[in-house]
């Protein structure tokens, strides 16, 4: 799976990598197909606090915004998103879930890095007061670096707000506030099949934030 190629630092950067001590080997996070190279920052200082492990395969930083890692020279990327309240995004739109799993499956088949995430209560919303004033909370955003795909998803979902922003790193872009989500059973259920289970969104959460949802 792409995670293993992502782990190969040799292919990502030839220079020494700055890793904070407490982010040691966390292979389980990498199974979610993260773009771990985006968590690596190119150093302009000598490596600091690196635990000395020569195993450079675990260069994953969590999304915790209290991350003390220095933000070195980075690529500024554009992130596109759609946002609506959590009930709509995660509980009501079952076809949405199917689409995301289909896309994840495709990325796996074609060995592509995951470039789309679901972010629950994203911090970047603070930058968009015009959105937050008409948003029910908790809110969930679909974020991607693939602009046209977000445009397509807007066409599909329709009842969402669309915007974009730039960020220096994926961890910054996907920073969020953990929220416990529980949805009530629907009053009316007409289908001859059971509802999709809660928690289906786990594989799409930004790396690092899944653990708090278990």
């Amino acid at each position: 799976m792409s995670a293993s190629t992502a782990l190969n630092l040799g292919s990502l950067c030839s220079s020494v990598v700055n890793l904070p001590t407490h982010y040691s080997h966390k292979p389980s996070l990498l199974l979610h197909g993260t773009q771990s190279q985006q968590f690596l920052t190119l150093p302009n200082t000598v490596l600091k606090g690196f635990s000395g492990s020569r195993n450079m395969k675990s260069a994953v930083a969590a999304v915790d915004s209290s991350d003390p890692a220095e933000k070195q020279e980075t690529e500024r990327k554009k992130y596109y998103f759609l946002v609506a309240n959590a009930k709509f995004m995660l509980d009501e739109e079952e076809h949405f879930q199917e689409q995301l799993f289909e896309r994840l499956r495709l990325f796996g088949e074609r060995d592509k890095e995951q470039d789309f995430w679901l972010v629950i209560e994203p911090k970047f919303l603070d930058k968009f007061p015009n959105i937050t004033k008409r948003l029910k909370r908790p809110a969930v955003a679909l974020v991607s670096t693939n602009g046209p795909w977000i445009t397509f998803m807007k066409l599909r979902l329709d009842r969402v707000l669309q915007e974009s922003f730039e960020a220096d790193s994926t961890e910054e872009a996907l920073a969020c506030t953990p929220v416990n989500l529980e949805f009530e059973k629907p009053e009316k259920w007409t289908a001859p099949y059971p509802k999709y289970e809660s928690g289906w969104w786990e594989p799409f959460l930004p790396p690092g934030s899944q653990t708090s949802k278990v």
């Binding site: 946002v83 609506a84 309240n85 709509f88 076809h95 199917e98 689409q99 289909e102 896309r103 495709l106 088949e109 959105i131 008409r134 948003l135 029910k136 809110a139 046209p148 795909w149 445009t151 397509f152 066409l155 599909r156 329709d158 009842r159 969402v160 707000l161 007409t190 289908a191 001859p192 099949y193 059971p194």
Partner: protein
């Protein structure tokens, strides 16, 4: 309303009106509708050796082949004439279709033939007809989209390419179904059908409304069956159902494209005429599906479904989806709507019963007249029920009040 005519044996005076109804579209995306040949004509004998399906038996129920005013289509999407086309949405759709999620998905295995051999008795006939009708319907989509892809190449290459990619999907679906027929020692001669079938003409506007609905209803039908069988696997008598989850995403995407096409022509969405047409097409499609399915209830019961509950669920969900684009939809969750549908089923059954009697055609027609009048009256009443205001947030007047 003409839609219900699709369920009746051909009555000459209604025939011409029928060519502009949505009967095809309701049938096209209804893979489980079975040709209603049983009422007056004996079912065509099915030779056991591999054979061509007997020549074209055109009836009101046979999935139709469609054509449209291609010149008008070209004008609608001509990028030079229409500076307001939302290129971003079409480019996004093009990327999505180019992705080709199901490129490697439609692969058969030996399970198919083995399962087909086990299906005997009346269920076999029902299955064959299901495969045949579905294949014809998918193929019909293939032809229309292919032609549109060809015709729009110069005037709007992006839209043209999307149509071509959709025809790729339809060809895949049709091919898969035709191979399924071979499990039952039959095959559709698609080349022959292309040349010999009559084509029904629909203006572009009607193609949009109707095809949007038929794609979306197709998605809901397939996914409902898939999820039901996933929860109740003992009813999966033929492996094709296992493919439905991925298959129906194609249908859903096709619907999205028609959504974008309509948004590119806001005159189809933003006035009182648009609302009336929206309600008309919703009603036609829902009623035709309901009546068709209730006639073929053995199939649904054969896979463990309660036909009416299945249909109501599909109608409710399709309606909810359609509310994201059509400016008005029907209040399908109002219990009166289902009551009307059920009354229509009863009337339809009586009409069919008339067809089965030994009376001469003239007498039959006379007997049918009051029944048809009753059916028309129910349809009209359903049409006049208070609709639900709806539409894309991109256009809706109520958007500023929305909280997301």
């Amino acid at each position: 309303m003409a839609a219900e005519m699709a369920l009746l044996k051909p009555i000459t005076k209604f025939n011409t009106f029928n060519t502009t109804t949505t009967s095809r579209l309701s049938n096209r995306r209804l893979p489980f509708t079975v040709r209603m040949s049983a009422t007056t004509t004996p079912p065509t004998s099915k030779p056991t050796k591999k054979a061509q399906k007997q020549g074209i038996k055109e009836s009101l129920l046979t999935p139709r082949f469609y054509t449209t005013d291609f010149d008008e289509m070209e004008t609608l999407f001509n990028t030079e004439i229409n500076k307001n086309l939302n290129e971003a949405e079409f480019e996004a759709l093009l990327q999505e279709f180019k992705t080709d999620y199901n490129q490697t998905h439609f692969v058969r295995n030996k399970e198919f033939k083995e399962a087909a051999d086990k299906i005997q008795g009346p269920l076999r006939q029902i299955f064959v007809e299901f495969l045949e009708r579905s294949c014809t319907a998918e193929f019909s989509g293939f032809l229309l989209y292919k032609e549109l892809g060809r015709r729009l190449k110069k005037t709007n290459p992006v839209v043209a390419e999307i149509f071509s990619l959709m025809s790729r999907d339809e060809a895949r679906h049709a091919g898969f179904l035709n191979k399924g027929l071979s499990d039952f020692n039959l095959a559709l001669d698609l080349g022959f059908l292309t040349k010999a079938r009559k084509y029904t003409f629909f203006k572009p506007k009607f193609i949009f409304y109707a095809t949007y609905l038929s794609e979306k209803i197709g998605y809901w039908r397939y996914i409902t069956i898939y999820r039901h069988l996933k929860a109740n696997p003992e009813y999966t008598c033929y492996p094709i159902f296992k493919y439905f989850e991925n298959w129906c995403q194609d249908e859903n995407r096709h619907g999205d494209f028609f959504s974008a096409l309509m948004k590119a022509q806001p005159q189809f969405l933003n006035d009182w005429k648009a609302k009336l047409w929206s309600r008309f097409f919703c009603l036609s499609v829902y009623v035709t599906m309901y009546l068709n399915d209730c006639q073929r209830t053995d199939f649904y019961e054969g896979i463990g479904l309660n036909t009416k509950e299945f249909d109501m669920h599909v109608i409710i969900e399709t309606n909810r989806t359609t509310a994201r684009i059509f400016p008005a939809v029907l209040d399908v969750e109002n219990p009166e709507f289902k009551r009307k549908l059920d009354r229509m089923v009863e009337i339809n059954q009586k009409i069919l019963a008339v067809g089965e009697t030994d009376d001469i055609p003239l007498v039959k027609n006379f007997k049918r007249i009051p029944l048809i009048a009753a059916l028309a009256s129910e349809l009209l009443a359903a049409y006049l029920m208070k609709p639900i205001e709806s539409g894309s947030v991109d256009f809706a007047e109520f958007e500023p009040q929305l909280v997301y």
